[in-house]
Symmetry: C2
């Protein structure tokens, strides 16, 4: 076996996208983790370095380790892998931090193994890692990280991912309040049953959003980025959400909603200059509060996770 090493960029992602709770997501471009994965003579999965945040080194307790182990047990190579994680996405930020870790290890290992696995198979392995973080297997952050652009998780069992088209010149502004919203709390706050009439509004919006992506109809995109089911509950957990949304829409955003289970808030914008205006306006809103925050602007990343370097 040749010694082999690969460096990858594993992107942050936005799940739900207002109307598409649990099924829609899109991929960010310049926010993400770096990971270095090397083959080792010693069999097994070894996490040898973690920078940025304090996460467990034991593979069985680390999201990237669990997904790696799932693939490793399936592939059964006669060598092992060591994983270095340079974590930039804060855990619990709502922009797919655990997914980036879960995806990074399996994507890199697949490259080093000569790509035996499809993107859907990678998604399946990564979901094992995601399950460690969120107690349930879901793919709404994993799919956009692996496939890039906008994705629709048609079904989890069996796994069926649809890659949707991405209109040109589409930017996301991410506002990340430095507060903790526990995923368990943001799940618990949701009702088990919802009014049929709200459900109808939601599936009409999902249908028109998919049509808008296909037809690059930004006006329709704007009308479709509406969430009458989940946002009324979860927005209570995010301070100043309404003020941020109002400001984003006033300054030209197509839509503004909760990224995943929050606390991050995403705004979708047509064009970089509008994204800059929106970023400035919503920063101003949060500057008046006593909550620390970060704001990022990112083009929609149609490529997904990628190799930065290999040797």
């Amino acid at each position: 076996m040749d010694s082999n090493s690969i460096t990858i960029f594993s992107p942050a992602t936005v799940a739900n996208v207002s109307c598409g709770f649990d099924v829609l997501g899109f991929c960010l471009d310049n926010i993400g983790d770096k990971m270095v994965i090397k083959t080792t003579e010693q069999k097994g999965i070894y996490i040898t370095k973690i920078e940025g945040y304090d996460l467990p080194f034991e593979a069985e307790k680390n999201v990237a380790g669990v997904s790696a182990l799932a693939m490793y047990e399936h592939a059964q190579p006669d060598f092992g892998f060591e994983i270095e994680i340079f974590k930039n996405i804060k855990p619990g930020s709502g922009i797919g931090s655990s997914s980036a870790s879960a995806v990074g290890s399996v994507f890199a290992m697949n490259e080093l193994l000569g790509r035996p696995y499809s993107k859907t198979e990678l998604t399946n392995f990564a979901m094992k890692g995601e399950a460690l973080a969120s107690q349930s297997e879901h793919a709404d952050n994993i799919a956009p990280a692996i496939f890039g652009g906008f994705t629709l998780v048609k079904s989890v069992t069996p796994l069926d991912i649809i890659q949707l088209p991405t209109p040109k010149n589409l930017y996301a502004v991410i506002l990340h309040p430095q507060i903790e919203v526990k995923t368990s709390e943001s799940r618990a706050i949701l009702p088990k049953e919802i009014p049929l009439k709200h459900a109808i509004t939601q599936w009409s919006n999902v249908g028109s959003l998919v049509h808008a992506l296909h037809t690059e109809d930004y006006e329709l995109l704007k009308k479709s980025l509406v969430d009458v089911v989940v946002e009324p509950y979860r927005s209570q957990l995010i301070p100043h959400f309404e003020s941020v949304r109002e400001s984003a829409l006033t300054h030209g955003a197509l839509g503004c909603g909760i990224s995943g289970s929050g606390p991050s808030i995403f705004s979708l914008c047509h064009g970089h200059s509008i994204a800059q205006q929106v970023a400035k306006a919503i920063s101003k809103v949060y500057s008046k509060t006593n909550i620390d925050f970060e704001v990022h602007i990112s083009e929609i990343n149609t490529e997904g996770i990628k190799v930065l370097d290999r040797y």
Copy 2:
């Protein structure tokens, strides 16, 4: 004012399309009503002939009359219209009988007036007639009759209709059991609240159905034509529904569901020969029952309502 007369074909339609309750619909080709509309010197709306079924002649009590009056009051021409209705679609069949009437009069009047109104405006007028039949304004049968092909009612207030693409070579088989299912009963049987997890499945299916129409992906169309919300309730009102569906799917249908509020059952098929097989198979199922029935095969009508003759 010149004397003027127009003959139109107003098509039957299928609403809901399994996953898209209250928002999706498509247009049929060779099933529909014929109507003749003539201008008259006398102001007003006059229904002068009704053949096929026993329906009221008073404009205020007739679906075609009510929609005609809505447009007439808006247009305020200095002449009137007389309407002859040759009704082929049985009222209460679940394939948009009242919509065909409501649409026919306003479409024809718009032609005679020189087309002052858009398709969306025609939909709005026709909804006034539909409301007489169903006690609520909805557009899921009207939109496909006017626009043709597949349509998505994005919103009713304000009215926003999206015309979706229609894949080539797509046929519907309609089985119409000759029983009465009251719309009021088929509405009353539905729950006011539904499980969130079923709603998620449904909006995932609506999203993938729209994607499948855009990409002509018949396999995905098949996977998307699933209704976990409404069909479990309404199918109880339609005798032998499960047997019909099983037979349709076994014989190659992409999907099989309740047309509107029933009792008609639609099957979507890729290609005419599969449609013929499905029609034969489901006819066999119903032949074994003591219920009279009709079966129609129709290509998806991408043109919608049309002028047959004018002089």
